[in-house]
């Protein structure tokens, strides 16, 4: 977490902490590590990446599968060029596994 927050102001750090609660740590040790890896691979600032994922509006998006989840517990929401892959947590709340832009 320290590594993720170190280059941001306290207001930005608070914003990041708000967004990461929406994320699943997937196979990483922590959500922070996962975000750093996503942002590095996609060549984008971590906070900008978190904002884009946060601003993805599921309303009106195509969901696959339409209800429930695949056998690996994942589902994808698509809207325009963007997609959000999610998994339910232990309480059934959908958490973000990754966010992508198809032509980015």
């Amino acid at each position: 977490m320290i590594q993720l927050l170190e280059s941001y102001t306290s207001a930005e750090a608070a914003e990041i902490q708000q967004y990461i609660s929406e994320w699943d740590d997937a196979t990483c040790m922590s959500v922070a590590q996962s975000i750093l890896d996503h942002a590095n691979r996609k060549g984008i600032d971590p906070l900008k990446y978190l904002r884009k994922a946060h601003n993805f509006n599921k309303k009106g998006a195509i969901r696959v599968p339409k209800t429930g989840y695949r056998s690996d517990s994942s589902a994808v929401y698509r809207k325009g060029n963007e997609y959000l892959i999610v998994r339910p947590d232990q309480y059934g709340t959908e958490k973000i596994v990754t966010y992508g832009v198809n032509d980015d």
């Binding site: 740590d25 997937a26 196979t27 990483c28 040790m29 590590q33 996962s34 890896d37 996503h38 590095n40 691979r41 060549g43 195509i62 696959v64 599968p65 695949r70 690996d72 994942s74 994808v76 698509r78 060029n81 997609y83 892959i85 596994v97 990754t98 992508g100 198809n102 032509d103 980015d104």
Partner: protein
């Protein structure tokens, strides 16, 4: 555990860390091909698209690799071995039909797919050393 096994495991770990960096570069270099793929292989309403399958596979494998990079271990080792064995890249139908159905095209993405599967095999090899 013998010194020779430790050294071999350390070599696999270094290879995994190198592959992570290589995969980052390769992913960034596939942008043009990915833009073409989204046109040629558009998503269908009933299943994950090729790029979505690749993204999920990437996230899962990179996550395991980053655990090894940070701590030298993976939590839930036995379960992870089972998951990695089940994650054969070409068992995913969208990836297999793309890989075998586009001869001579999209070589950068195909190289990325092969490198991802190599990473999966290295992770398995590393974990199997730990469970010996």
């Amino acid at each position: 555990m013998t010194k020779a096994i430790l050294n071999q495991q350390e070599l696999i770990k270094r290879n995994i860390i190198q592959l992570l960096a290589q995969l980052t570069n390769t992913y960034q270099n596939t942008r043009g091909e990915r833009q073409e793929i989204i046109v040629q292989f558009p998503p269908e309403d009933e299943e994950f698209s090729l790029l979505e399958e690749l993204e999920l596979l990437t996230v899962n494998l990179r996550g395991y690799a980053s655990q090894i990079q940070s701590t030298g271990q993976i939590v839930n080792q036995a379960q992870t071995i089972e998951q990695l064995q089940a994650m054969q890249v070409l068992n995913i139908s969208q990836i297999a039909s793309f890989y075998f159905g586009t001869n001579g095209n999209y070589e950068q993405i195909k190289s990325y797919i092969r490198t991802l599967d190599y990473l999966r095999l290295l992770l398995l090899e590393y974990l199997q050393f730990q469970s010996d």
